[in-house]
């Protein structure tokens, strides 16, 4: 341990290093300058990447966390720097992403005086953080940083914000760091109740038409192996929520597809036919359940979740199993009988055939001239062999990408699920790449969301972050347009866009880029993009007014899923 006194700003760097951080995303400004001065001094140990907007920095930190499983770190100055983080913080909160945000604050003697670039970021961020804290004395830094990282990654992960006044950054003190091992008011790992394990085993063993729905909890709990063993021993068909998808390979014979508003036909319809629903690490979001009053009423429900507040929040369940699913799945798998459910599974197959004929075939093998989003995703699958991390934004392209992308490895689908943040994908993709340099990262983005954070092309160019960016351009805010077509008599209020030349913009950032309009050019272009070792922007111009199906209209029952 150092005996020499150091500044609060230097203590921030040491604290980050003590937590194993080697990369932070941020944007400097007045109230955080002392910390930036230390980034300069410690640049060989701790890399700082300058985003082009604080929202870019936080989404990059989220992408980094999601691809690496580590805590993402974003840093910004006070006032607007801090408020620009808020969307990303809310996104990380609702999607349970471990990030630590550090914001500068005006000197403590100016707090509450409406000083230049003062904002109450503690108050503003409180409802969207797992925890936050304002540091006004340098001596608080080690303990608060240790707590912040512990809270962000333990239990159900989430965002933490630390606000540091400028005087605390300058103040000298004796630095000493020890990692946080526990907080008395916080129980991140609830103990699993053995009798509920037994109850679950009984239900699973006697079920005739059991159905699994899994979510991101499997990935966050590093429980992919335990989950796969459970699925295989129980023989139960399993469907995923959008954030859970890559926990089990797409090609697995018991993987029956996606649930929810644009999920697959079978899993949605059969939710209301199964006799047992095993929900694992998912939270019965309204985009998954449709009308909760008509959701799986006929079924007994077992719900595995680490967060007690999720139990009976949206859907009443018979058997709650609170705790780490890595452990509970193992306990259940040990006790259940090995079974298979061929007849029940054949129902999923039959419904998949219907979906193929009515939806998938025309999505993937279109007879019309214009390109579809679906065939674009298939072209990416072919070139990446399902090895890539697919980062998506929000809207039609997101649903299509999740429906048709092939996944082999966990942590391969990065998207804004709960908050639905347009503009997420471009910065999240550069973060995801930095978190998994050995993997191919393909961002799939609509023309609307792309323009919300397009400035991050500057970051990608400066650092030559080799992400592959695919713009699925239909010159519309497609998902809103689809709703306007279906529910508002085609009154296309403010959804059509006259777009700039995306290739020219990419070239302005000195990035390789091309545009595809014709089917014959699609595969060669995707191949060139994937073969490239550099960042690459591929604009694919697709049909303007295609719709995403199947669809459960908002507020309708899962059994009302429509194919057209």
């Amino acid at each position: 341990m150092k005996k020499k006194k150091i500044s609060g700003a230097e203590a921030v760097i040491h604290s980050l290093l003590n937590e194993g951080v080697d990369l932070v995303w941020g944007y400097p400004g007045g109230a955080i300058m002392p910390v930036y001065d230390e980034f300069y001094k410690f640049q060989d140990k701790l890399k700082h990447i300058l985003a082009r907007h604080e929202q870019g920095a936080i989404h990059a930190a989220q992408g980094y966390a999601r691809s690496s499983g580590k805590v993402g770190v974003a840093i910004a100055t006070s006032g607007p720097g801090a408020t620009n983080l808020v969307t990303g913080i809310a996104d990380a909160q609702i999607d349970s992403t471990p990030v630590v945000c550090i914001t500068g604050q005006v000197p403590s003697h100016l707090l509450g005086s409406d000083a230049f670039q003062e904002t109450d970021i503690i108050g503003i961020s409180m409802p969207v953080t797992k925890w936050n804290y304002q540091i006004t004395k340098a001596s608080e830094i080690p303990e608060i940083f240790a707590k912040a990282f512990y809270i962000a990654k333990s239990g159900r992960p989430g965002p933490v914000l630390i606000d540091i006044t400028k005087d605390a950054q300058f103040e000298l003190f004796n630095y000493e760091y020890s990692k946080c091992k526990g907080i008395r008011s916080y129980n991140p790992l609830p103990k699993i109740n053995n009798s509920s394990i037994d109850d679950a085993v009984k239900l699973i063993n006697k079920a005739k038409k059991p159905f699994i729905v899994w979510g991101q909890g499997v990935i966050l709990g590093n429980a992919e192996v335990e989950f796969k063993s459970f699925v295989e021993k129980s023989g139960i068909p399993a469907a995923w929520t959008i954030l859970g998808v890559s926990a089990l390979p797409t090609s697995h014979e018991l993987n029956v597809g996606m649930v929810g508003m644009h999920g697959n036909y079978g899993p949605n319809l059969l939710t209301n036919e199964c006799d047992l629903l095993v929900a694992i690490g998912m939270r019965f979001d309204d985009r998954v359940t449709g009308d909760p009053k008509t959701y799986a009423n006929q079924a007994k429900i077992i719900h595995l979740d680490i967060d007690p507040a999720e139990i009976n929040k949206n859907i009443k369940v018979e058997v709650p199993i609170i705790g780490d699913c890595k452990e509970s799945l193992k306990l259940i798998t040990e006790k259940i009988e090995k079974r298979s459910h061929e007849k029940w599974i054949s129902k999923f197959d039959d419904l998949m055939k219907i979906e193929f004929d009515k939806v998938i075939n025309s999505d993937l093998n279109p007879s019309k001239k214009g390109l579809t989003m679906g065939e674009s995703i298939i072209a990416i699958n072919e070139q990446t062999n399902g090895e890539a991390i697919i980062v998506t934004d929000v809207g039609q392209h997101q649903m299509v990408a999740c429906r048709y992308a092939n996944f082999i490895h966990s942590k391969s689908n990065i998207t804004s699920g709960g908050l639905g943040t347009m503009g997420f994908a471009l910065p999240a993709a550069m973060g995801a790449k930095m978190g998994a340099m050995n993997r191919e990262v393909v961002a799939v983005i609509g023309d609307g969301g792309y323009q919300m954070t397009i400035q991050e092309l500057g970051t990608i160019f400066q650092l030559q972050i080799p992400v592959k960016i695919v713009i699925l351009n239909n010159d519309f805010l497609g998902m809103v347009r689809q709703w306007q077509q279906l529910f508002f008599d085609k009154r296309y209020a403010s959804t059509e866009m006259i777009n700039p030349d995306f290739v020219t913009i990419a070239k302005g950032y000195y990035l390789d880029s091309e545009r595809v309009n014709d089917r014959k050019d699609l595969r060669p272009a995707v191949e060139r993009m994937i073969k490239s070792k550099k960042p690459y922007v591929l604009e694919i111009c697709v049909e303007k007014e295609d719709n995403v199906f199947p669809m459960i209209p908002s507020g309708a029952s899962v059994s009302d899923v429509r194919l057209s």
Partner: protein
């Protein structure tokens, strides 16, 4: 439809700046009106206790209490019906001193209500009454016509009939370390 009724939510927390904001945000997000709110240090040093009264359904209050307990600095949260708690409120009534002598009836009101005179000076006197909402409300109505200068009522304070076991939770944590 599930019926709404009064619930007393008791929250044991660490003593930290901003926790009040974090708790009130949980109610705000769900558009729940808080009927009464009070806080002070509890029977355990450095552990604070919030008493929050809400009118809502049982399933609603259950969810809210889970959200409260999810907060990192909340040690434990409980909800109770009125019959499961012992609760009181306190009220202060400031009156013109002249009315005490001119309106003899006031003296009877004070006596009948078991209220206490806290202070008397030439300009005003202050009455204190502790009891249920109905009691303080009745006294308010009785005094109103005699020139009530100021009236204030505290939030509910309450203790539960059941054990809360906060020290046990804290000790278990200490022993694990």
């Amino acid at each position: 439809m599930e019926k709404k009724k009064n619930f007393t939510i008791s929250v044991y927390t660490e003593n930290n700046v901003g926790l009040l904001h974090r708790l009130s945000a949980i109610f705000l997000k769900r558009h729940i009106n808080i009927e009464s709110f009070s806080t002070s240090e509890s029977e355990i040093k450095d552990v604070f206790r919030f008493i929050i009264v809400v009118k809502m359904t049982k399933s609603g209050v259950e969810k809210v209490v889970k959200q409260i307990e999810k907060q990192v600095e909340v040690i434990k949260a409980f909800y109770h019906t009125d019959s499961e708690t012992i609760f009181q409120e306190s009220a202060l009534y400031k009156m013109k001193s002249s009315s005490l002598f001119e309106e003899r009836h006031i003296q009877n009101i004070i006596k009948d209500s078991n209220a206490r005179i806290v202070t008397v000076n030439p300009e005003f006197f202050v009455i204190e009454k502790t009891g249920f909402r109905d009691d303080t409300e009745k006294l308010y109505k009785d005094l109103k016509s005699y020139g009530l200068l100021q009236f204030t009522r505290s939030g509910r304070i309450a203790v539960s009939k059941e054990k809360m076991g906060i020290s046990e939770i804290l000790n278990t944590f200490k022993n694990q370390k």
